[in-house]
Amino acid sequence: MFVAWRELWFARGRFGLMGGVVVLITVLVGLLSGLTAGLGARNTSAVAGLPADHLVFAADAGFADSVLGADVAQAWARVPGVRSATPVRISMTRAQVDGRSVGVAVFAVPDGSPLAPVRLRQGVAVVSSGVGGRSTLSIGADSYQAVPTSTEDYYSHAPVVWVTLPADAPATVLALSTSDIDLVAADRSLGTHTVELGDSLAEIGSFAAENGSLQLMRGFLFAISALVVGAFFTVWTIQRGADVAVLKALGASTPYLLRDALGQALVLLAIGAVVGTAIALGLGALVGSAVPFVLDLPTVALPGAVIVVLGLLGAALSIRRITSVDPLTALGSTR
């Protein structure tokens, strides 16, 4: 890297501009990733956090339209391999909380069920932190004593309220705890449709749509960064083609020249990604209270790492231009 370091400094204007582009793309992807994770959590955290491994829906139905009678829940509880089958009724509604009207997702589970963050009783509503309730909560004609918790359960962008589900009332899904079970056979005989808990998130309509478009944007940004870095290093390599010919004529080996070229790319990308990630973390901390934003290092640092790897692949596009330089051109009088 003897020549490479000095070129980085000598052409610091050009490398600075390119580094700026890497920083900006990293910031953008970092913020987008934090936002994607944050929005994702607002859609799914209550379902993802259920202490269950599978969810049972009515056949051909999703969260919005699935209805399962109490008889189905009892039938599922008797299937060999099912440790527990807990009915959960999920509905979106407005609640009056301490005199305010708040949009909430109501998760109704049987009295005393371990699915709720704290033990439920009749007449009690366990509210997640997003509801902000302190004393009383009423939904329609029913009023409850509010038990605030620090859990951040959300479903379809609404904070979750846990209440009791009357015995024999129909449910939306069954939360299964299983071991060694033939789900296909059980589904067929009970007329239901069972999916793994993680896969069930895609059935939340608002999540599937949002997540798909955000991931698409992220993918495009990754592709753009690889192409931009590749284009920059291709032009840069063409610009220094004559120098490469001289170094080859002087006896530089091909690995020596490739080390220099990829080393330059790595330095540029690493600095750009670190600065960009730091800025994304800073901005994330600033906006964190105003918008849903997940601000942990893996969420924001992973995009930086991906940009470094993709950028190196882009820079590798210029390798052939280095290996194909003919040292003979250094001898001529035209430069």
Partner: protein, 223 residues
């Protein structure tokens, strides 16, 4: 340590046929002697240097550098031979724009994994010996044409080459500076026992050379 070319023939593709740039050239340059090569434009002077520098493989014939026969060496082995035993003084200085004068010389040590304090001292000493010691920390754009050519020469001497190949080093310089450059090359050739080939147009510089080869149409006319 010498340079020898034995019956070297080099052709380039030329339309349907081939153009003979070197035609069975035989040349022996002993260590410590300066051989001048002259000839009209297109007579094959640069081609001769390119073959001697292992930058092109001849169609036939044998090139031997400091006792090593180049035929059959891999590309990597030829690179290693160039960075250890061959000094090239290019027609244009061909300095790397990002490097200071002393760094242009240090690169040669770095290419061979020998970038030491001693190498730096040697580089500074060489710049001193070509008369630009005080310009060691300037970049090429801060040097005059003649000063760049001196860096070019010092760089070629940095590896203590057994063979020094010089392509029209004076074409960009006025007559007096050109003569000084040739005298400088002759002095190093003799002091360090180098086999030097000097391609030149300017026959007035030939006083300090040991032998003269005239090329015409790729063949040696007189020796």
């Amino acid at each position: 340590m010498s340079l020898s070319l034995n019956e070297v023939t080099l052709t380039y593709p030329d339309g349907a046929g081939r153009l003979t740039a070197l035609d069975a050239v035989t040349l022996e340059v002993p260590a410590g002697s300066l051989t001048a090569v002259v000839g009209p434009s297109g007579s094959g002077k640069s081609s001769l240097l390119a073959v001697a520098a292992t930058l092109v493989r001849p169609d036939s014939g044998e090139v031997s550098i400091g006792g090593t026969t180049t035929a059959g060496l891999s590309r990597a082995a030829l690179s290693a031979l160039r960075r250890r035993a061959v000094g090239i003084v290019f027609q244009q200085p061909n300095l790397l724009p990002a490097l200071t004068a002393v760094e242009q010389l240090q690169v040669m040590a770095h290419l061979d994994g020998q970038l030491t304090r001693a190498a730096r001292a040697k580089a500074l000493l060489l710049l001193e010996s070509v008369g630009i010691g005080e310009l060691a920390h300037r970049r090429p754009h801060q040097l005059s044409g003649g000063q760049r050519q001196r860096v070019n020469i010092a760089r070629a001497l940095m590896v203590s080459p057994s063979v020094l190949l010089v392509d029209e080093p004076t074409s960009a310089l006025d007559h007096e500076r050109g003569a000084a450059i040739v005298e400088l090359l002759a002095a190093h050739t003799r002091a360090e026992g180098i086999a030097t080939v000097l391609v030149t147009h300017d026959t007035s510089h030939l006083a300090s050379t040991d032998a003269l080869v005239t090329l015409a149409d790729g063949a040696v006319r007189s020796q």
